[in-house]
């Protein structure tokens, strides 16, 4: 166990899986010579060479499709999108090819591929560069969707994703890459589909995942000062969702807040709230509340961006509200 950044944890996972299985290769913009737009692939070109660490032109649709084609005939591609905003150009290959081929072929063509890259807003990158697409991709049967919030989970989930025989959409975060945490050395696998109770409390549940885990943990710390103890359920995987972990927590606390980066309408939080009302109807002491981005494209100006993003105060306010405590 050693302290590492989220970036280094991903790098370890890639490196170890590429050492372990020579069918695994990495492809995307700036992954090689430039060492990754966010340096996640640092050193990989030097170790594995140009055939396995492939710099592409700016052609998201094309190289996503090259990944799917290679996966059809037995390779195990890891496709890096510089950010998920640009992956919109590749959505056809992800949704119409990767997610469909197994089903359409009656089980003949599994597609073992990972589509990964940073998702959601960083700082002041404005409307086209600040979008979270987890709800979009989680909508699609035929995909698995994971979104780790800590370095250890980043490593464990990326290794599992690469070994998975299905298409896995893997959401990272620009603001997560520099965050640090304990990361187990070597073989360390986090199962896809399993949530993690990141903090225990009995007053309220915060269900979250990805970058928002950081906000939830900070909110939990501050709430603790007022004697409010929250469970933080980190989903880690958005699809398939760990229903048992959510309902076990809500049965204990009887209250829930769902915190996510993306937009409200048809968001992941809506899915979680639906699960809770179905599974825990008799346990609930308050309606489930949601914290999310304002229902607008992301603005550039610092003050507007701050107002648009979910944050710790908004999360605390939601928890206090489901506990019927006065706003402070």
């Amino acid at each position: 166990m050693a302290v590492a950044t989220y970036r280094d944890a991903l790098n370890q996972a890639l490196k170890e899986e590429m050492q372990r299985d020579d069918r695994v290769f990495l492809m995307g913009e700036e992954v090689g010579v430039y060492q990754g737009a966010y340096k996640v692939s640092k050193g990989l070109l030097q170790e594995f060479g140009e055939m396995r660490v492939v710099d592409t032109p700016i052609t998201e649709l094309g190289f996503a499709g090259i990944g799917v084609g290679a996966a059809m005939v037995g390779l195990r591609p890891v496709i890096e999108f510089m950010t998920w905003n640009f992956a919109l150009l590749a959505i056809d290959q992800v949704v119409n090819a990767a997610a469909k081929l197994l089903y359409m072929s009656g089980g003949q063509f599994p597609i073992p591929i990972v589509f990964r890259g940073p998702n959601g807003a960083a700082l002041q990158l404005s409307a086209q560069h600040s979008q979270a697409f987890d709800a979009w991709l989680a909508h699609i049967p035929g995909l698995k969707v994971v979104s780790p919030g800590t370095p250890a989970d980043a490593k464990g989930l990326l290794k599992s994703a690469i070994r998975d025989d299905n298409p896995v959409v893997f959401f990272e975060g620009e603001m997560l890459y520099n965050t640090k945490g304990d990361v187990p050395d070597g073989e360390y696998l986090t199962p896809i589909g399993q949530a993690d109770l990141k903090r225990e409390g009995d007053h309220c549940t915060i269900v979250t995942y990805g970058k928002s885990v950081l906000l939830a943990m900070q909110a939990a710390d501050q709430l603790a000062k007022d004697g409010i103890r929250v469970d933080v359920v980190d989903l880690r995987t958005v699809r398939p969702m760990d229903v048992n972990a959510i309902s076990a927590s809500v049965r204990k606390t009887n209250r829930a807040v769902v915190l996510e980066e993306g937009w409200e309408v048809c968001g992941v939080g809506a899915q979680v709230a639906d699960l809770i009302q179905r599974e825990c109807f008799d346990d609930l002491d308050a309606p489930v509340l949601r914290v999310h981005q304002a229902d607008v494209p992301m603005p550039y100006a610092r003050n507007l961006e701050r107002a648009a993003k979910p944050d710790v105060p908004k999360t605390i306010a939601a928890v206090r509200k489901v506990m019927y405590l006065e706003e402070r």
């Binding site: 430039y34 640009f86 150009l89 603005p299 507007l304």
Partner: protein
């Protein structure tokens, strides 16, 4: 001192085109304004007054200045995130641009867009766009609308050389040629897309040859020579305006800064030596030397011009600094408009 050195290294451009001395002076001023404006952008970025991504145009000023000098005020311009220089060349107010970069209420997009998304409807400046290749079909669409309405305007579409590898580019150019749309597709070939040299990303290294696939007229031109850029663009614009035929114009230039303010100027992908070699052909110096040889400007004249544009930039900075943050209620404005019909 620095200027004297640069002067020795820079080969003067030629003045054998049809510009007047006053027009040449205007082009020199336009490039100098872009340069000084962006030098202050770099400063403001370091101070945290500008945030997010900020892509400077330094080294490429002749492209924006020369090409925009070749179109009319009712023609349209559409471009990428590297848009400050072209916005200034089009005559957008330095104040409103700087205020936008500072994320303030008086910005050209009310602080909503920032550096990558400068827009000015009154000048037919249809924006800086952030997704590589995404605006090229829009340019074809603008051309389509011009033709549809029976007008004689043209659309001037700037893009980086990496764009030619995107699907959107091929789809748009094919339709533009098929339907004879009045568009000038102007490629600013600065040799790199972020850290990727064009030879590592494009199977064809002479970018303008791509046009052959669409049976489209094509040309390339030296992008450090503003007069040459203007002349080449004039020809493409004439073809678009009078024959409604699009052109692919490759303008060969170089960026003197990093890809954006968050990238190193040189690094694993290009050497300092290469950068210094290209910097010998600073577009401002190329024109200045030619004008100096022709007796059109002298050192005191150049100094006066420099003071003049620096004052404009300082005024823009002061204006932006004094402009308030956008009001919070504006967060929810501009998502949709009220339908009036």
């Amino acid at each position: 001192m620095a200027q004297a050195k640069a002067r020795r290294k820079t080969e003067a451009g030629s003045l054998s085109d049809d510009t007047t001395a006053a027009e040449r002076h205007g082009l020199l001023r336009s490039m100098l304004l872009q340069r000084r404006f962006e030098e202050r952008c770099a400063e403001a970025y370091a101070l945290g007054k500008i945030g997010g991504f900020c892509h400077l145009y330094i080294g490429q000023e002749a492209v924006g200045a020369g090409a925009i000098a070749a179109i009319r005020s009712d023609d349209y311009i559409i471009t990428t995130y590297r848009d400050h220089g072209q916005a200034l060349a089009r005559g957008m107010s330095p104040r409103s641009i700087m205020a936008e970069l500072f994320g303030r209420a008086d910005g050209c997009a009310r602080g909503k867009g920032g550096s990558m998304h400068l827009f000015d409807r009154s000048l037919n400046f249809l924006g800086g766009h952030g997704i590589v290749g995404g605006h090229v079909p829009l340019a074809a669409g603008i051309g389509f609308a011009i033709k549809y309405r029976g007008g004689d305007q043209v659309c001037l579409c700037f893009m980086g050389e990496s764009v030619v590898n995107t699907g959107a580019f091929h789809e748009a150019l094919n339709m533009a040629s098929l339907w004879k749309l009045p568009v000038v597709f102007l490629i600013e070939n600065n040799r790199y897309g972020m850290g990727t040299a064009l030879e590592r990303a494009s199977s064809i290294h002479d970018i303008y040859l791509r046009a052959a696939s669409y049976d489209m007229p094509r040309a390339f031109v030296d992008g450090q020579d503003v007069l040459a850029v203007r002349t080449a663009t004039l020809e493409a614009v004439r073809r678009a305006r009078s024959e409604s035929v699009p052109t692919l114009l490759e303008v060969r230039t170089y960026r003197f800064m990093g890809h954006s303010m968050s990238d190193a100027v040189a690094g694993t992908y290009r050497s300092k030596a290469e950068l210094e070699e290209y910097m010998k052909r600073d577009p401002i110096m190329v024109l200045r030397m030619a004008m100096q040889d022709a007796g059109e400007i002298d050192d005191p004249g150049m100094a006066r011009l420099d003071e003049e544009v620096k004052a404009i930039v300082q005024d823009a900075w002061d204006f932006a600094d004094a402009s308030p943050e956008p009001p919070l209620e504006s967060l929810f404005e501009d998502v949709l408009v009220e339908t009036t019909t």
